[in-house]
Symmetry: C2
């Protein structure tokens, strides 16, 4: 086992009615609140009103309209609001994009320069406003981790800002808030959380605890996504997906393991930065192609373990056949839940492939991947996605 440092100070309030903890969770830190949310679905669902009712003693300022793949412009706007109104605590109500944007705002307030500098260099983060979250989408795990992914449309960059100060202080996870999530977004969310696990799982040095946790989360996502697509109001399935997504990106699933460069995320961020596609959809398309490209003598046993323990593929003397069967089953699962099979279906062109591959390799550590990848390798994987 490798050395590690681990701490998740976020307090999770999980379950039906968990919103009753909101008032205490927020007012612990102050009463001047920046409420951050997205396109307004929380108004339709009534959650917006519920939040305001619970915070009737607070002074609320708002930043709405945070985009999927949240943009640095929204972060800048939030920072300005915080400064103008002396905000004491940020409350993010939404999915991963709203939470990520809020995290960057929390850090940006304490940085004199432009918030994008922090994304490019996390050592510039010194302090952050306290963040409380109310989750409405099971996907990114931002509610229980210290990362934020921010897009810059000016530079075609989508990059992760990670810092210990960015853990939410408290996260309210009520699975019933995800009943209204569409089949499309539920599927994309499942692909996202599964990708978080697969990025950590496909390394050459792991341990039984990590493997058990990763395989359990993958199985949870597979079983329960099928259930919520049949019955969007299946509380127990929504609950298992929500908790799975929170654990998947927290780091606890790979403690002690060989470090992974999260290759599929690195590649997908490039595609999103150019084409603004849904993150989970991009990951679901890229992952099986990355797997096939990474399957070789050194990695085949790992793929066989994945096939056996996640998809119940029977052990076979032909290890490559078995490994490929696992990958096929994964691709098949993504198709079954309605995710596009290729970039072509998303109207993505090939014109930026070289640039995307170069940038991904430059910002990743792809030479440490289970099969080390250079620019030409990434170009091939991207081409295979069409």
């Amino acid at each position: 086992m490798n050395n590690f440092t681990f701490c998740t100070p976020t307090k999770v309030y999980f379950g039906k009615g968990a919103i009753s903890n909101l008032k205490e969770a927020v007012t612990n830190f102050g009463t001047k609140v920046l409420l951050v949310y997205g396109g307004g679905s929380i108004k339709k669902s009534g959650l917006y009103d519920t939040v305001l009712k619970n915070l009737d003693k607070c002074e609320i300022f708002e930043l709405s309209g945070v985009e999927p793949n949240p943009r640095i412009d929204s972060v800048r706007a939030g920072v300005e609001l915080c400064r103008k109104h002396n905000i004491e605590v940020v409350l993010a109500v939404g999915g991963g994009s709203v939470l990520d944007c809020s995290k960057a705002i929390c850090a940006g307030v304490f940085y004199e320069g432009d918030a994008w500098d922090l994304v490019l260099d996390n050592s510039k983060v010194t302090e952050a406003l306290p963040l409380v979250t109310v989750l409405t989408l099971s996907a990114t795990g931002s509610e229980f981790d210290f990362g934020a992914v921010i897009s810059n449309l000016q530079t075609n960059e989508k990059l992760a800002l990670c810092h210990d100060k960015l853990f939410p202080k408290a996260s309210i996870l009520d699975p019933s808030y995800t009943f209204s999530v569409s089949a499309y977004q539920s599927a994309a969310g499942a692909a996202d959380m599964m990708s978080h696990i697969m990025e950590q799982y496909f390394v050459l040095g792991s341990n039984i605890i990590s493997d058990g946790l990763c395989e359990a989360i993958l199985k949870t996502a597979i079983v329960n996504t099928k259930k919520v697509l049949k019955d969007p109001n299946d509380y127990d399935a929504r609950a298992q997906l929500m908790w799975a997504s929170s654990l998947a990106c927290n780091g606890i699933c790979s403690l002690g393991n060989t470090k992974s460069p999260w290759v599929c995320h690195g590649i997908e961020h490039e595609v999103s930065a150019y084409y603004d596609i849904t993150h989970g959809v991009g990951l679901a398309i890229i992952t099986p192609h990355w797997m096939r490209y990474s399957l070789n003598e050194q990695t085949v046993d790992r793929f066989c373990q994945f096939a056996a323990n996640v998809f119940n593929v029977p052990y076979s003397d032909d290890k490559f056949k078995m490994a490929n069967e696992g990958i096929d089953k994964l691709a098949q699962f993504f198709n079954e839940i309605g995710i596009a099979k290729s970039f072509s279906e998303l109207n993505i062109g090939k014109e930026h492939i070289e640039d995307m591959a170069k940038h991904a390799v430059e910002f990743g550590c792809f030479d440490t991947a289970i099969r080390p990848l250079n620019v030409a390798d990434v170009v091939t994987i991207l081409n295979n996605c069409f």
Copy 2:
């Protein structure tokens, strides 16, 4: 899934050389330190000197001689030392007993009455001194949880004090500090961490994540205990055991599950309170008997899952045969690693059985167990242990 609230604010520094973080971890909270340790093994091993060297800028006071099954008298002595010297931070160096005693000290300092009151009623805990730990034994998980088990020899009671304020602020987990742990204590530690899991695992409502994590930790304990008994200096095996033990009692393994009353712990604490036996040994003797007594139509599927996923028992049409095979394999494992098979081997008498059973049922919620237990049931289980 049931509702839950979850937060583990403890910062874990894991791995060889993690002691280099000690200075920062301690002096974050102050320089007047109460160093708590046990019978002096840390002096033999050199860890005592290493700790002092790392804290050369601190003023150190000492409480040594903390017993296995730590006693309320040691807690009282520690509280007195803290008050006398205006201690700012407590540093526990040792195994679960030292850590548990230190937790009770940390809380006791802020309570005007006798510290035993806190053990009897945790609502009396208001505040606690910050606690940093350096772990030397993989067993109880106290380094990553909020519980402390304290014994009172005057009243023949051994009870758990649990409170959010009792999480260590930081825990230093260097697996190489456990190289010198004897075969006997390594086996007892394994039994303890496995019991923590089995107490949580044997419920009628669980989920895939919880099951996966529990089964992985059980397998980790089984595989790696055998390894360390062969080679006490097997770093990787010691490391896996250490991290397994930290997760096993933290609560994360059973989030969302039906609540369990931790029956075997309740019973074992009674036995320890009268006979001061090694906690893990008592658990290893009691657990298989409790399992056999709890095996019935309602519970058999759970025991079959355990047999299959932990001990690779093949699926059988005769579910009870399969379930019993799993229990047999567990008992066999405990015997293989050198743990006594019965209370008789430990020279325990039968004279207190009625009292122990009554007290266990009174302080437990045994009617919520996988098979609900009354006093007569516990008497039978205890008798079966001879």
